[in-house]
Symmetry: D3
Subunit: 262 residues, 6 copies
């Protein structure tokens, strides 16, 4: 990815300007490349729940860069040096770190993503070297770190998490957050009030701390709603579920006409 796109995206997020991304769980680089060219600000590759091993992340980031329009982010599978370092070395502009429960978790995420003295990332840029120069500390400036708020502890500690030096934003995982506030399943209407209160709490914590608030959404309409509610960036997801939806809709349209010979 060119430096320009990455720098501009980092600037935008840190200025809390609104951004919209797409969420990819498929190891299907050509599809990811096409989506990356549609005008989304970023495409996030899901290495936690998605169907992407290391080569899927690597090829996916290359596919996004081939589109030359969006930047690539990775939702890493774990909050440690290895998972975060490999995603960044592969060329991700930023990492979304799951299951951050405390400020210490958030600090660990930042430390894993930043070179010394800011953090403990080991130096060995691969695709990231295409973008950053030889000065690690300067590379830190273009690396974004987001902590996921999706557990009861994370929600309780959201202010402290937002205060973590070097953290660029928080990111709501709405399915887990719904369960965290007592829902029986994602989207459980029984806890709608609590869920919306939690969303507000998170957005306000980020705003107070002056960092970005991001959130996952299933559809463009929900993304628009979240942006109107004060969220800085939203990811629409995912390629797998969208593909299933559209294939189902076309089957319904087609089969209205199918008859069995008799």
């Amino acid at each position: 990815m060119t430096s320009e796109l990455a720098l501009e995206f980092a600037r935008k997020i840190r200025a809390r300007e609104q951004a919209v991304g797409y969420w990819a769980v498929l190891d299907a680089p050509v599809a990811t490349e096409r989506i990356g060219r549609l005008g989304y600000d970023y495409v996030a590759l899901d290495a936690q729940h998605g169907l992407l091993g290391y080569s899927g992340v690597l090829n996916g980031l290359m596919a996004i860069d081939a589109g030359h329009t969006a930047v690539g982010m990775v939702r890493v599978e774990d909050n440690n040096l290895t998972a975060i370092g490999k995603a960044l070395d592969a060329g991700a502009v930023g990492v979304i770190v799951p299951l951050v429960n405390t400020a210490a978790d958030a600090a660990a995420a930042v430390a894993a993503a930043k070179y010394p003295p800011m953090g403990g990332r080991s130096y060995g840029p691969m695709r990231s070297a295409l973008r950053i120069g030889p000065v690690p500390a300067e590379a830190n400036a273009t690396t974004l770190v987001f902590a996921m708020i999706e557990t009861p502890d994370g929600l309780a500690n959201v202010k402290e998490i937002c205060a973590t030096p070097g953290l660029d934003g928080i990111y709501v995982g709405p399915s887990d957050l719904a369960i965290a506030v007592g829902g029986a399943f994602p989207g459980d209407p029984a806890i709608e009030t609590e869920f919306n209160a939690a969303l507000k709490t998170v957005a306000e914590a980020a705003a107070s701390a002056g960092i970005a608030a991001g959130i996952h959404t299933p559809a463009g309409e929900v993304a628009a709603l979240r942006l109107s509610q004060g969220y800085t960036f939203t990811t629409i997801a995912s390629d797998l579920t969208h593909l299933e939806q559209i294939a189902k809709a076309h089957l319904a349209a087609a089969t209205a006409a199918v008859t069995t010979k008799d």
Copy 2:
């Protein structure tokens, strides 16, 4: 794939009962598996224009079979023993053979798909052995062969092609057929009349020969139209273009709300 699904699908096609399939060009088996569970009669993997090498076809067929609902077909990359044999050995119920221009081409496709004495397929079942018994001639009965009509020659020779012994159906490639009848591009409105006449010619040739007429379509609505026009089966396509469409639509819905901070 279980024998039952394959046998029933072969029976259905040969009885000219209507069927609807989905067209996959992505090497994304989990997506293919999901689509295969939606109720489509078959999923066709495109080894000609699709993004599928041999392992993509193999994994895709396994994914379809894991769904236990649809059967797997392959649009092979070439009309020869190797391409057709590998697709069938990998477990495809049938092959869609591109660029069939003459009855001799159609006969070659049949010969490649059938064991002696009907054809010249070499015996070495791999995944196909899970379905067929040890008698090659019986395996022939469950293997479907479709010849694509998509060139000026193919259109001119459609009757002779339909008369090919062992051929189970013909299959229209509408993009190439539009160009074949003089269009400047697929869907060119300037040749709508010629295109529709060609579609009619093909469907009638199949009907006269008592074999199935299939056609590729971009959407469920078009599929319904083709079925109403006498086509036996239609494939809706493709995962790649559908995914691009839906991702684009969600972006539009989301970005209505995006504002730039000022």
Copy 3:
């Protein structure tokens, strides 16, 4: 995999009914598919010592499901949220967790495999969504967790481990257990008494706790023996060693006849 197979397997294991599985270390989905159709209750994919990366596990589980006869389990590479979550998201019915030394280790394994409030698994079903409905707590009911007993500590703490809420069984790794009781190598006859005593201790601990006792075995005869000794389920292993054995035996049979021209 269909819900029915998974539910029935979970019921069987929890009822301590006997089951036999096969152990796969090869990333060879078509072979795994075939083995899965032979009548084994389950096929276990070894992500710890086996030759399977993430894509191997994913394709292997799909292959087992394509056989529609056995369920797929995964021996995970690590006792943490990431390894266990990814195996389950990929469609495994259960996980075999290595190197469980204490009840705390066992509790961590359960927590990683279960959605809140029972555990801390993050919600993002991929292939597992094909089987479970949208209610995470219900998904917990069909997810099996087994703790491996294979170290001195694990053996010493086996009762406490068996008492772990949510644990469905324990699983003996006989190679490591032989070394744990003082053997110089797996199968060391010098510690046969200690080894058999350990096997008995483990089986009885499971029986007392009312959970299943599983064990790895190299051959069907040993599997039969272990079942007769009170083990609930046994896995026969592995495709790699079996293939080596049979290829060696056929070479011996063939080369009796080879002569050198003179």
Copy 4:
């Protein structure tokens, strides 16, 4: 592969000394490596019916070479420059070319495998360069070419095929040959006499021409029989069917003991 192994194997085959090989259809390099270390003279990778794409062939040949005991051969998927050239460039010592019906087919196979002036192979050694020096004509000397006899035409023309300059041997595909002599399926007892006569015809044709006669066999005992009947080399096959057999046998041994709780 070292030159020594390749040179010695070529010498042996051309001297009509007996050799035994193993037939691999699985893309499972570690298994192939192990089998290659058991003492087989060669391992043949099946790119026609096997589950091996290009990368499977490449990795399989490397695996065989890592064993440093057997040489690697490839049964190519087609009788043309591309298929034969790619197998040899990947490091195969020889190619088994399917469906050779005539002396012209055999000559085409030789031409595809040999550099000018002997043939038309294009120069671009990749792994083969590790073995051969820079002189293409010398490389020709270590490249083995076998024509498969497996069709009625091939059987009828076997003498002319054997007389093809540069051909190192013929190779019987017994399944197809059984069908070619009128069998309803491979191993059909109804045509045992004709099949055995055909085997004799082929072996004698090779002996008369002074080239090697090879044959595929399902088991070591059959391999021993064929060697005693005058065949020079036999391949025992395949890893997939052997693995299925042994897994089935172990299940039978285990399940004798399985009881259902009641």
Copy 5:
């Protein structure tokens, strides 16, 4: 790849302006991406002799496009619709077609690369759709076709080959050409005169026909020489041999200092 780069490269080649490319045989997309950013006009992926299957070509072209500097070409493995169509669908700007012996061979290459009415390419753009619009005839304008001159026949027929309508250039395979003019091996000094005469013949034939003359070279110095001799474009090759050379040189530099302890 952006249209602009492709269009400019096509213009440049057709204007016989000089260009320099790099030759990749490794399936190592990140390396290919880096090389593509060094300033080469194009990177050619070798699907004939190179270590690249279909996925290697696809990922390699994406990697080149991610660099946004060079365009991607493919030396296809065969002169037919399938090989040429798949390379172009995967996003190649042009194809280098091996072993062109006659004007008929060259015409077949052009026909395979161009949509009707110019040729017989089937319509199904995948990555190529990112670049071309929906009008196939317009896509033809940005697709380059080069015929390799590397055999005695090709050399004899070079004028007729150059006269093929739609052919954009010829391309010398110097290893095969050296053998074609009687050399015992590539670079054989014994045929230096004949080889240089052949190079001149080819370059003049292209110049007379007004099409580009390309040639493969092992090193930048040779590339410079060929450009000075009238060649339009040269590819420097290959990543595999270059890597071997540099690794060897560094070992020599290092081992001067290695001593054995005594």
Copy 6:
């Protein structure tokens, strides 16, 4: 890999005899195989920063073994049982463990690499079984463990780290070490004195402890220098950067001659 090579390499390292290796970050087994045949004592595959997932490490080790000249090592991605166990099971002779800060870290690395009673490695040899016999304790003797010194803490604790029982050597990561001693970037001339002092401290600590001192270097000349400064072994690196360098140099040589038509 054969036992002989592994045993000899282990002996050499433990005797502090000098050795030179090559550093591979590309998942390009044929390139790795070639480099492994050049005379290097070992090839190290980088699973931390390199472009290698699990299958890349597995295939890379097989490629090195196919060369039969060098042994394969792995720089693992993490200091835990899983990462170290998988690398060794895949056939690595030794592991280079990153980011070792304390003697406890070093002890953990040893424990992960050694079978009981020396450590806690689980028994399940895969490719390593080709080399070692059935006695785990004997396998320990051929397994090398190196701790990376590359952080301020690691440097401060180098003596204690070197005293770790079972540790075979330490290994300097010069990029991170340069930053650790206050450099702004790898090779920062501003801290040359501190860097050289640190190199001396590390080499002396290893010498005092009687274990090997290894170091990464970018070029053969630097490797020679480090060996002359008392380092036991040095790795020259990497294939990716070397390939980029040589491709750049050849472009410069070629483009001197390129002219634009006018």
